[in-house]
């Protein structure tokens, strides 16, 4: 018996030793592992390239691509992809070896990153340490990345990106092997960071399509669903479409969201000694004469599924017309979702070509139907005949508006850049024009275009000096024009008829809001180089001009830009000073905060000036992950130079997607407690830590007090700014827009005025930054607060961080300026001892569209009435009294607004299942007589406020002493 047992055991072990094949990259021969081996495509002129980006033929490149010179470009003339060099990590990935550019060869790239992960934690990201370039032309080219999970060195990983001639997509195979002692719950998935405002995923399953469910990270297991394929595209005419289909299984599993998609294998237990393999086909396709949108990718995806699994397809064709004319070429005009099956599952979405025609391939499904969207509204629905031929579909024709805006007064009218806003003038127009992008994103009335894309976006249009034509649904509108807070707002009432062209001429007049010698700056601005912006550079720069700002810090997330080419192309060199810069945006949690279960990131910081280096990773931006602020400052020092500026952004903003946006909130800073001189283990003590041996964590030059046009961020951040000043850390306070597009945060709202003493054309970066760092600053959202200290009738000192030594009889002279369309009713003086109202219930100008009444309040207050006895800081604020906010969780910072509108802030205002919040700006008024009505037409969700920089009062002249913790 024993002998028989032993024989069986030995035989089994022998079989085991013989193995089960080694056809894998991790297990042996990577050459034998062509992903998606059953796929084959044909084309007329096959070609292949793999090599450094710098050496790649120009025609294979991608517009908007961010590949650096040493990254690896792989192309077959149909599709081009860039794999980041190992030492060049990007975005969420801990290393290189990931796809950072992908698009149709010679076309455009909208991909931020496609990287591999096995789980949600940073430890479970694929971290590659080797990259192999394989050139087997003319058979195939490939790039192989090898490494391990970032926090689990015992879990080996590899990914092979391969292109064969004529392939419309990349063949990708990823492998994982669990050499750890633990059973693991793993997937292999490609995570695509869409960034909320650019590429929109389309998932062909019941109840989804464009309408992806909310991505709750804690529910991710339940949300991880199978999809036959997934496509995605930005709603822009030149946008490539992307898609993925699994090759080694029937579905890809994962989640889709505007922020991120993660698609791969099902969640499974991977025991020690076992692995996972995932093969998929990742396509990138341009819009063609068959149309654009996700359908451009769905067609090759379904072709692949047909080869792999024999899945049948149907072609749906048709044409869209308005008033008998072709109507396509843009998602604004027409976008068609095709559905099928008993559950009406969305199968694809196509944007008709410029001639109105479209051809869309869908899986063979019974009961096909379509819905046609135009100007954000579902205008037509119907069934699709068996042959798929829909014929001509007719949508209501829009009106065409020919917009011109001029600056009037003081001579001939001067055509200018401006923002024009369409506002329904009656309820019928509002109801009949309110739309959205297929039921997703911001509701707008009228919906003139995707709110995060190029102009027109939502209900607003950038108008160029030469004039701009825009298509608008027929209706009755007010048309507002604005060129920023230094100009009037013009308004016209129009009735637009379908198919008619209506000229609308609007005239603005300059206002003396900004005094001579001051420059208006927006020091926190995003464009297409940011992962979360879909705004083309041209429109971004035009928005600078239309907002009336003089100085811009270009601060894209983790990428250095300066818009120099676009500024030159628009001939705006003498009107704009654009400083190259960066918003460091750490995405990999690492920071252990006492009392917190989850690791944190340090939030966002701006740095400028920086020189864009397009041939370098991240445009020259340094890698900013897993660094505390002090170490980050050390790393940036050599790049920005001694005169450069470090700014902490939105320091108390709420985390998004599990990532902290504000450092002070991330560490649990308590503004009611002092900041110790050394790290004492408390949250406030972390500010004194010098993690890299150089800078301390609070060594920023400026703090973003105002972020956006609303009051909510300002009300939180001002307390932090004041607290740090009281704790011997006075810095410059700024206000900036943090604009990512034309609709979210309006460029130039807030803004920071800096007293350089020179016009913009005569100002250089060094001079501007020197004035800023000296504290010669006023900031806010539409309200300029001029302040000076000195004796009556004698020269006075304006804002600045150099302490003021007052003389007996000194006064604080204040002048509050704002355009007549911006309400100001209150002026307040703030010191460490509290607030004093200097003026209240101020009346506004009689005509909000006029030029009179810019100076809202002027007064002198004896300094001794504000600062008595001891050194202190002083800030003058003006605008509307702040909305009601309260600190319900007693952490020293307001967290909740009067959300139920009952006049107080209490637990009734808190959202269900939350402890506090939300804190938001009060809703925009709909009553035209409301003082905020006009301002909120121009700048939605705005609240007028302005504040001076810190004035440090050194009472005894013996050096300024901070007043201690805020009282």
């Amino acid at each position: 018996m024993l002998a028989r047992c032993c024989v069986a055991a030995v035989a089994t072990l022998a079989l085991f030793a013989a193995g089960c094949g080694r056809d894998s990259c991790l297990g042996g021969d990577c050459e034998a592992t062509t992903p998606c081996g059953d796929l084959a495509f044909r084309c007329d002129a096959p070609r292949l390239y793999v090599g450094a980006v710098a050496a790649a033929p120009g025609e294979l490149g991608l517009a908007r691509g961010q590949g650096a010179a040493d990254d690896v470009l792989i192309s077959n003339g149909v599709v081009t992809a860039v794999v980041s060099a190992i030492a060049a990590p990007t975005d969420l990935a801990p290393t290189g070896g990931n796809l950072i550019d992908l698009g149709p060869s010679g076309g455009a790239d909208d991909l931020t990153i496609l990287y591999q992960l096995a789980g949600l934690l940073p430890d479970d990201a694929f971290a590659y340490d080797r990259l192999e370039v394989v050139d087997r032309s003319p058979a195939y080219v490939a790039v192989i990345a090898r490494g391990h999970l970032d926090g689990r060195p015992e879990v080996a990983v590899a990914t092979r990106y391969e292109l064969r001639p004529c392939d419309p997509g990349l063949r990708v195979r990823s492998e994982l092997f669990n050499d750890s002692p633990d059973r693991q719950a793993f997937v292999i998935a490609d995570a695509a960071h869409w960034g909320k405002r650019r590429v929109v995923p389309f998932a062909p399953v019941d109840g989804q399509g464009y309408l992806t469910p909310p991505l709750e990270l804690l529910d991710l297991t339940a949300l991880w669903k199978p999809y036959p394929f997934v496509a995605a595209a930005a709603p822009a005419p030149d946008a490539p479409a992307y898609g993925v289909v699994a090759c080694d299984r029937a579905t890809v599993a994962g989640v889709n969201d505007l922020e991120v998609s993660a698609l791969g294998t099902p969640i499974e237990v991977v025991p020690p000694g076992q692995g996972v393999v995932f093969e998929r086909f990742v396509v990138a396709a341009p819009a063609t004469d068959a149309g654009g949108g996700p359908a451009a990718a769905v067609a090759p995806l379904l072709a692949a599924r047909g080869q792999l699994f024999g899945a049948a397809t149907i072609e749906v064709t048709g044409a869209v017309q308005a008033e008998g004319l072709a109507f396509g070429g843009d998602v604004r005009r027409a976008s068609i979702v095709i559905r099928g099956g008993g559950d009406d599952v969305p199968l694809t979405a196509v944007v008709p070509a410029a001639d109105g025609g479209f051809r869309a391939v869908v899986p063979a499904t019974p009961e096909l139907s379509f819905e046609l969207w135009s100007f954000g509204r579902r205008e037509l629905r119907g069934s699709i005949p068996d042959d798929g031929a829909l014929g001509v579909l007719t949508v209501p024709a829009p009106a065409t508006v020919d917009l011109h805006v001029v600056r009037a007064g003081g001579g001939a009218d001067l055509p200018i850049d401006a923002v024009v806003v369409f506002e329904p003038a009656d309820d019928a127009t509002r109801a009949g024009t309110r739309g959205s992008f297929h039921g997703k994103q911001t509701l707008c009335a009228p919906w003139l275009g995707p709110p995060h894309g190029a102009s027109p976006a939502c209900n607003r249009v950038l108008v160029e000096p030469a004039g701009t034509q825009v298509e608008v649904p027929a209706g009755h509108y007010w048309v507002f024009a604005s060129a920023g807070p230094d100009a009037t707002v013009a308004r016209a009432e129009v009735r637009l008829d379908p198919g008619e062209v209506t000229a609308v001429d609007l005239a603005l007049r300059d206002l003396d809001v900004t005094p001579p010698g001051w420059l208006a700056a927006d020091l926190h601005v995003h464009g297409a180089a940011s992962f979360d912006s879909g705004l083309p550079d041209r429109d971004r720069v035009r928005s600078f001009l239309a907002a009336g700002v003089d100085v811009i810090a270009a601060t894209d997330h983790d990428y250095v830009t300066d818009y120099a080419a676009t500024v030159r192309a628009l001939g705006a060199d003498d009107r704009l000073l654009v400083m190259g810069g960066l918003e460091t945006t750490p995405l990999i949690p690492f920071l252990d905060v006492p009392g917190e279960d989850l690791p944190r990131v340090i939030g966002h910081f701006n740095f400028w000036p920086l020189t864009p280096l397009p041939a370098s990773p991240r445009g020259g931006a340094p890698w900013d992950e897993r660094l505390e602020p002090g170490a980050l400052f050390d790393r940036l020092d050599p790049l920005i130079g001694d005169a450069g500026v470090r700014m902490i952004n939105h320091p108390w903003d709420e985390p998004q997607f599990g990532r902290d946006l504000g450092y002070l909130r991330a560490i649990g800073f308590d503004p009611r407690r002092p900041v110790p001189a050394t790290d004492d283990g408390t949250p406030n003590g972390a500010l004194a830590r010098r993690p890299g041996g150089g800078h301390a964590n609070l060594d920023w030059d400026a703090l973003e007090v105002g972020n956006g046009a609303g009051a909510d961020e300002w009300q939180k951040n001002r307390l932090l700014w004041f607290a740090l000043a009281s704790a011997s850390h006075p810095v410059v306070g700024t206000a900036n827009s943090d604009s990512h597009g034309l609709r979210d945060n309006q460029l130039g709202w807030g803004r920071t005025w800096v007293e350089t003493g020179t016009p913009v054309g005569a100002t250089d970066v060094a001079g501007f930054d020197a004035a800023l760092k000296a504290g010669k600053v006023v900031a806010g959202s539409g309200v300029f607060v001029a302040v000076a200290i000195g004796p009556p009738g004698a020269p006075r000192r304006g804002p600045g961080l150099a302490p003021v030594v007052p003389q007996p009889g000194d006064v604080v002279a204040i002048e509050v300026r704002a355009a007549p369309w911006i309400p100001v009713t209150s002026v307040r003086a703030v010191t460490s001892r509290g607030e004093r109202v200097l003026a209240a219930d101020l009346a506004g100008p009689a005509d909000p569209f006029g030029v009179d009444g810019v100076v809202r309040w002027r007064g002198e207050v004896p300094l001794a009435e504000l600062i008595a006895g001891a050194d202190d800081w002083l800030v003058i604020e003006a605008g509307l009294p702040p909305p009601r906010y309260a600190d319900l969780d007693d952490d020293g910072v307001p967290d909740t607004g009067d959300n139920d509108g009952d006049g107080d802030v209490d637990l009734d205002d808190v959202e269900p299942d939350e402890d506090v919040g939300p804190i938001a700006n009060p809703p925009d008024p709909t009553d035209p007589t409301d003082p905020r009505f006009v301002m909120t037409r121009i700048v939605p969700e705005s609240w007028p406020y302005g504040f001076t920089g810190l004035l440090l009062i050194d009472v005894a002249g013996d050096g300024w002493t901070a007043p201690g913790s805020a009282r």
Binding site: L15, N178, P271
Partner: protein, 273 residues
């Protein structure tokens, strides 16, 4: 109070302790508390046993800083047989294994079955200090290709020298010195682990039908560096009737790199001889 009364009644029912020789009754054998997947690292005494049995096991690993944890339970069926004076063999099948794994937000429960394991023992009788001693060599193999839930395969083996000594009438000492080997192989790679282990158990026949056991395990090498664990365990075996017995045990690591936090086992067996 009610529980204490019940416990006293059970002990009283178990009757007075008896001295059956070192291998006289299987309830004197040491508790087996395996730490590794499929239980191939579990120990045993040097005595041959013929029985059929079922065992449920559980284990827990809570790694809070790593946002990781596993909770597992399994049901194993086994038959052991004696072939002559020196030889015994056994066959164990893990009938079902249910594991909950949480890796950050991933939460998954996976049922599976397998593997099959075979073992063989060769033993001789001796004496130590004039008292009965049983020495044995033992090998156990968890057979590859006998698990359901993986694409590749895993196999494992234990080779151990065993000693069981009747130190006193009621006291038995069990010692084990052995080696573990494990290999996993999938299309994406191969993994091997090995460890040396030593354990000692002290079993006390508290009553005629009741024995308790405490033991210490030391293991090195499994985690590829230093001490895996110094673990303690405690068990109890209770003869229900002439042929039937229950046994249960719990173990916990005191030191080392051991990832598991606790392991428990509970079984029932019927003697075949």
């Amino acid at each position: 109070m009610r529980r204490a009364t019940i416990a006293l009644a059970v002990i009283a029912w178990a009757g007075p302790a008896a001295a059956d020789g070192v291998c006289g009754d299987a309830i004197d054998q040491p508790a087996a508390v395996p730490w590794r997947d499929a239980g191939f690292d579990g120990g045993r005494g040097a005595c041959p046993v013929a029985d059929v049995g079922a065992r449920v096991g559980g284990h827990a690993l809570i790694d809070t800083p790593g946002f990781y944890g596993t909770l597992g339970g399994e049901l194993a069926l086994a038959v052991r047989q004696v072939a002559g004076a020196h030889v015994a063999w056994g066959l164990t099948a893990r009938a079902v294994d249910v594991t909950f794994v949480q890796n950050a937000v991933w939460k998954i429960v996976e049922p599976s079955y397998g593997p099959l394991a075979v073992d063989g023992l060769y033993g001789v009788d001796a004496t130590l200090a004039g008292r009965p001693l049983r020495l044995a060599g033992w090998g156990a193999v968890a057979l590859p290709f006998t698990r359901s839930d993986v694409d590749g395969s895993t196999g494992a083996a234990q080779l151990a020298g065993l000693a069981s000594w009747q130190a006193r009438a009621r006291w038995r000492v069990h010692a084990r010195l052995g080696a573990l080997g494990w290999a996993g192989r999938a299309v994406t790679g191969t993994s091997t682990r090995a460890a040396a282990l030593a354990s000692i158990d002290l079993a006390w026949r508290a009553r005629r039908r009741l024995a308790v056991d405490v033991g210490v395990d030391a293991q090195l090498g499994w985690y590829r560096g230093g001490l895996d664990h110094l673990a303690v365990r405690a068990g109890v075996a209770w003869r229900l009737a002439r042929c039937w017995r229950l046994h249960g045990a719990v173990g916990a690591p005191l030191a080392g790199a051991e990832r598991q936090d606790v392991a428990v086992t509970l079984g029932v067996a019927r003697d075949l001889e």
